[in-house]
């Protein structure tokens, strides 16, 4: 098995007595495309928020590349090679598309050539000078994914990237994700076709805890997962 790029031990988050995540032990090997799924309120966003430092953990440890990053602020974790796209689209609305990508690329040491390369890759080259806030919703989502790519991350965390995308855009997204080399991907996703077609391995969260882990086929056949999703009594 490849070396682990990310690992959590006993990661827990409680909000005023409500537990969002409870003792999550999670391991992600380098180079894998991993999907993180679960019903609404299962604690997926909180979990990845604790990984990249947006949300302080109540307790527990986050290891990146074997190094304890639990006490690093978000920007330092990002600088180590993590990129994160927001669940609710978050771009620099008043700046041009090119400037958005450039801001992401520059922090990672990328130059203008890198910006052009990313723009071409996400098919936004002909809209490069448009104001990001004027783009359609779908294009804004794609811009945000482009910003993540421009960071040349080693670990790319995407929080529901295909939400609100048209079917053709979802297909492009799948091609984009599976075409990435040298990047480990952690994908929160509700669209099961995206999950089943892109992910090599799936983690299911429910009530803030890991319910099941396995290959797409394992997860599809898992009766606990079916119960959690369909709301039937646990088998």
């Amino acid at each position: 098995m490849a070396a682990l790029i990310l690992e959590t031990r006993g990661l827990t988050k409680t909000y005023a007595g409500v537990t969002a995540n409870q003792d999550v032990d999670f391991a992600l090997p380098q180079g894998q495309i991993r999907a993180l799924i679960g019903p609404n309120g299962a604690g997926k966003s909180t979990f990845v928020g604790m990984l990249c430092g947006r949300i302080p953990a109540t307790r527990g440890t986050v290891l990146f590349d074997g190094k304890d990053i639990s006490h690093l602020p978000a920007h330092k974790r990002i600088a180590l090679g993590i990129a994160y796209t927001f669940q609710i689209t978050s771009v620099f609305a008043g700046l041009s598309v090119r400037e958005n990508i450039a801001l992401a690329a520059r922090r990672a040491g990328g130059d203008d050539a890198r910006v052009d390369e990313v723009l071409a890759r996400v098919a936004l080259s002909d809209r490069a000078e448009q104001t990001a806030g004027d783009l359609s919703y779908g294009h804004q989502r794609i811009l945000e994914i482009g910003m993540g790519l421009a960071q040349t991350p080693r670990l790319f965390i995407l929080d529901e990237p295909t939400q609100g995308l048209a079917e053709s855009e979802v297909a492009e997204f799948k091609a984009l994700i599976t075409g990435l080399r040298d990047t480990t991907i952690l994908l929160i996703e509700h669209n099961m076709s995206v999950v089943m077609e892109t992910a090599q391995f799936i983690t299911v969260l429910n009530h803030g805890e890991i319910l099941a882990e396995g290959t797409p086929d394992d997860i599809r056949a898992n009766s606990h997962v079916q119960a959690a999703y369909l709301g039937t009594e646990d088998a």
Binding site: I78, A79, Y84, V91, L103, Q151
Partner: protein
């Protein structure tokens, strides 16, 4: 050479010419406008570009003013070292205030900066033995010179103001188009996003505030030097609000907005004072109209509608 730099140089050249063309009264006004525009440019870096709505910049203006005038008055420091002291005072005050105030955001930041500035104003009153409080003191005419150039003449004063204005404008013009300045704009636009791109937002905001405060201090020192007077009223609340008004009127986040806003406001007060004693009323109505119809300020609106390249 690019358009933005050409525009800045053209404005500087036009201001240099203006001294020889304008009647003495207006040239004198323009000298004051340039000094206050330096102040507003400093303020604009924090508010217009970084999105830090400070209500306490009079503290930095005052730190520069007193740094220069107290050292000249009581220690007999020559002009250039006194200017250096003024800049150092403003930078240190901005550094300390920034370190504390930037722990807050939004309305809390406004209140904290306002309180710091009030404390600074009260300190100036408390030490009235040296500062002469609200009444202030006049700088000795003989001391107000740089390298033999008399700053008490109309020409010396005008060109000293112009040189400092030009230096500030060129520095600001450079900063806001360099990667550092682009990142400040990104912080203003979407702070959470900037953080998640790996930028140390806290540190960048602090640096922006220190530069902003130091430029404001330069303006305060220049004001005392050129107009020969330092008083606590320059450290009081109205002097925190003025640069905000200049910047809003001229266009927040534009390099020339502060100059245009300062010129507009000063002439607005001037002209309405000719018409009626209730000149603040006229000024108020004009301000309300501008806010309603040009919410992005004069240059901000021009940039949005027509000249996207405006710096």
């Amino acid at each position: 050479m690019d358009r933005a730099l050409t525009l800045h140089l053209a404005i500087i050249a036009a201001l240099a010419l203006a001294f020889f063309i304008l009647p003495a009264y207006h040239a004198g006004n323009l000298a004051r406008i340039m000094v206050l525009a330096i102040y507003a440019m400093g303020y604009n870096l924090a508010f217009g570009y970084t999105g830090l709505l400070s209500l306490g910049h009079a503290l930095f203006f005052g730190a520069g003013m007193y740094g220069l005038s107290l050292s000249m008055q009581h220690l007999g420091t020559p002009t250039l070292p006194a200017l250096a002291i003024a800049l150092a005072c403003a930078a240190v005050v901005a550094g300390v205030v920034g370190a504390l105030a930037l722990r807050t955001k939004g309305v809390a930041f406004m209140i904290v900066t306002l309180m710091f500035a009030q404390a600074g104003y009260l300190v100036a009153l408390y030490f009235s033995e040296w500062t002469r409080g609200e009444e202030g003191f006049v700088l000795p005419q003989t001391m107000r010179q740089i390298a033999g150039i008399d700053l008490t003449t109309a020409m010396g004063r005008y060109f000293a103001a112009l040189v400092l204005f030009a230096i500030t404008l060129l520095i600001i013009g450079h900063i806001v188009r360099a990667p550092f300045g682009r990142t400040l704009i990104a912080i203003r636009e979407n702070e959470a996003r900037a953080t998640m791109l790996g930028y140390d937002v806290q540190r960048l905001k602090w640096i922006a505030l220190v530069i902003s405060g130091t430029i404001s201090g330069l303006a305060g020192a220049t004001y005392a030097l050129l107009f020969g007077y330092a008083g606590a009223s320059f450290a009081a609340v109205p002097y925190s609000i003025l640069p905000l008004l200049y910047v809003l009127l001229g266009g927040a986040g534009t390099t020339l907005g502060p100059l245009i806003g300062a010129a507009f406001m000063i002439y607005l007060f001037d002209l309405s004072a000719d018409i009626t004693d209730a000149y603040m009323l006229i000024a108020g109505v004009v301000l309300v109209l501008l806010t309603m119809f040009l919410p992005q300020g004069i240059l901000g609106t021009l940039r949005a509608r027509r000249f996207k390249w405006l710096p």
